[in-house]
Amino acid sequence: MEFLHSILVKPFADMIGAPDFLLQVLWEGLVSGVLYALIALGFVLIYKSSRIFNFAQGIMVVFAALSLVGLHEKGVPAWLAVPLTLVIMLGLAIAIERVVLRPLVNQPDIILFMATIGITLFLIGFGELIFGGENKVMITEQLGIPTGSFAFEPFGGFVSIEQKDLTAVIGAVLLVAGLLLFLNKSSMGRAIRALGDDHQAALSVGISLSMIWVVVWFIAGVIALATGIVWGARADVSFALEVIAYKALPVLMLGGLESVLGAIVGGLAIGLLEKLFEIYWGQPLLGGNTETWFAFVFALVILLFRPQGLFGEKIIERV
């Protein structure tokens, strides 16, 4: 009885008892949810257009952030470092397409998945070799991102919102809007979606597979850079950032591997729920640090009821 009370009643009583703290927790959850959604979006784009489960998305985030900081350390001004990093990501996209993907066209999914793990390892080694393994500080101020914070006082309490988090959320919304516009309105976007629907048919009407792949991987690189800047502003830039890539995986499960909308909704849901669970159930009852697995277990439970995720395409199997 005591136990049930501590699970079912007390957390909610705590939430109602301190609404300002709840708001703060929700805001924190929302911000990390936006970041998960961004990473998941990179996955979805690549999966939609090439059926490749790109495990390297996480390391691309680290690599982009490290390139940016590394260039700045070499004396390149911030406004120039960003486009230069984009050029690096373009080079990376072309190299991956040429060296890895082109020879592996038409291989089974698991082989391509393994290849992206190979890319991950290669980039980890390469990045550490060039930039060194130690933590770096994101050039937040040089990029013109405000670092102050707003304070609100709702319900007689206190909620603080960091300006860089606000910038992150606004930037992410703009990025997603731009991406959706690109995918739905431009001819290139239509080609990407066509490729996702049917490879052969898309090829037969003259869509260039290798070109689209480069474009898609480049867009994933741009998203990676945005994620890297935002995440780097909240914590140091290091290879530990790679773990956040794992967080995008349950988001994909929850939202469905092919759905842009799913990635966004799933990311926000997971960000909010894992924060709430950690604060109100994880820390008092389970000894904390539940954020490492909560998202996975939650997505797993949802998946038992909807095997293709919330927004995924219905799985139709033919024999």
Binding site: P250, M253, A299
Partner: protein
């Protein structure tokens, strides 16, 4: 010429289904057995035992377990490291509760615990397929490692949060703990690996193995011809996790000597997956070839620059190591997606028809 099969006639079904239908295969295996049981132990130094021979055997056992699940039954799993951890912690608890127990028995029993956990996390595979299942197995990976860290009963409430292998002996010879000699540890591991391999070969080519392969190739079709999917998938999870758990117990008790929870984190899962894939999914032999490659590679990369007299700092070697392994994985996937086992099959084929091209 060496592998000529002319003149080896099969006159009964039993002969046709024999483990070695070609006599030379049996000879080759005999040579490898003599190498493993006699030549290596006599010739190897302590370093060779600890850095090459024992890890190769343990990793190939873990990869064999994963290969049964992924290569034979077609269920992709990314949680191998955590299941190895379950085996290791179970073995540790068994040895704490029954201190007088024979280590071999304890390791055999600990496999059942990881099999039970494996079946529990395998249940979603009945509804979830493909990459969704792969991510679902990550749930096991992260949850179990978290549990190893938070549940202090598992490591006997020790302050460091790590498990430490005590001195254990069998028949008067120290097999585990700080006082054990490498050669007894090697023989212990070799014996376990040989036994499990024989069992695995016979399971995979028997009725259950064929059932798994049918499920792997197309599970709906398999169901239509009367295979019970639940039985097939869960038995694959059970057998696979059992072997992985035994490998995990060996990993800690016979090789590492101590373990912290993060030892079983996701890099271990990936390493085992690489071994299985580079070796060749759906083959028993491939696991050994893959393990030799993955274990030997860092050792070689450490020795080569030194031998050539190029001064390289150890951190650079570390980074180059990771890079090379990543590059090699990509290269192997491009050159031969079916792994080293297929290479050997092609070489063998060539040797049988040599000197003719067809």
């Amino acid at each position: 010429m060496l592998y000529r099969t002319a003149g080896q006639f099969k006159t009964s079904y039993a002969a046709d289904h024999a483990l070695f239908p070609v006599r030379q295969d049996a000879w080759l295996l005999g040579v490898i057995m003599v190498l493993a049981w006699v030549v290596f132990p006599l010739a190897a130094s302590d370093f060779t035992f600890q850095a090459l021979l024992i890890p190769v055997l343990i990793y190939s056992l873990a990869a064999l377990g994963l290969n049964i699940l992924t290569g034979y039954a077609g269920q992709l799993s990314l949680g191998t490291g955590a299941f190895m951890g379950v085996g290791a912690y179970a073995c540790y608890k068994i040895m704490t509760i029954f201190p007088g127990l024979n280590l071999a028995v304890a390791i055999g029993l600990s496999g059942f615990f990881s099999a039970a956990v494996g079946v529990a996390f395998g249940l979603p595979s009945l509804r979830i397929k493909g990459f969704y299942l792969a991510i679902a197995t990550l749930a096991a990976q992260f949850f179990l490692v978290w549990l190893f860290e938070k549940w202090s009963w598992l490591y006997n409430d020790s302050a460091s949060g790590a498990i430490q292998v005590p001195n254990l002996s069998m028949f008067g010879l120290g097999v585990a703990g700080p006082t054990a000699t490498s050669i007894t540890q090697y023989y212990f591991v070799l014996a376990v690996v040989s036994l499990v391999t024989i069992a695995a070969i016979n399971i995979t080519r028997g009725r259950i193995g064929r059932m798994w392969k049918a499920v792997r190739d197309m599970d709906i079709a398999a169901e239509l011809v009367g295979i019970n999917l639940m039985k097939a998938k869960l038995s694959a999870f059970a057998v696979s996790s059992y072997i992985v758990g035994v490998a995990g117990a060996l990993f800690v008790f016979l090789w590492r000597g101590a373990a912290e929870p993060n030892l079983f984190d996701i890099p271990l899962s990936f390493r085992v997956l690489f071994i299985a894939i580079i070796g060749g999914l759906g083959s028993v032999l491939g696991n050994y070839l893959g393990a030799i490659l993955i274990v030997a590679l860092p050792v070689i990369l450490n020795i080569v620059p030194e031998a050539l007299g190029i001064p390289v700092s150890s951190s650079v070697v570390e980074h180059l190591n990771v890079m090379t392994i990543g590059g090699l994985i990509i290269m192997f996937l491009i050159v031969e997606p079916h792994g080293l086992a297929r290479f050997w099959a092609m070489i063998r084929e060539k040797m049988i028809i040599w000197p003719f091209p067809h």
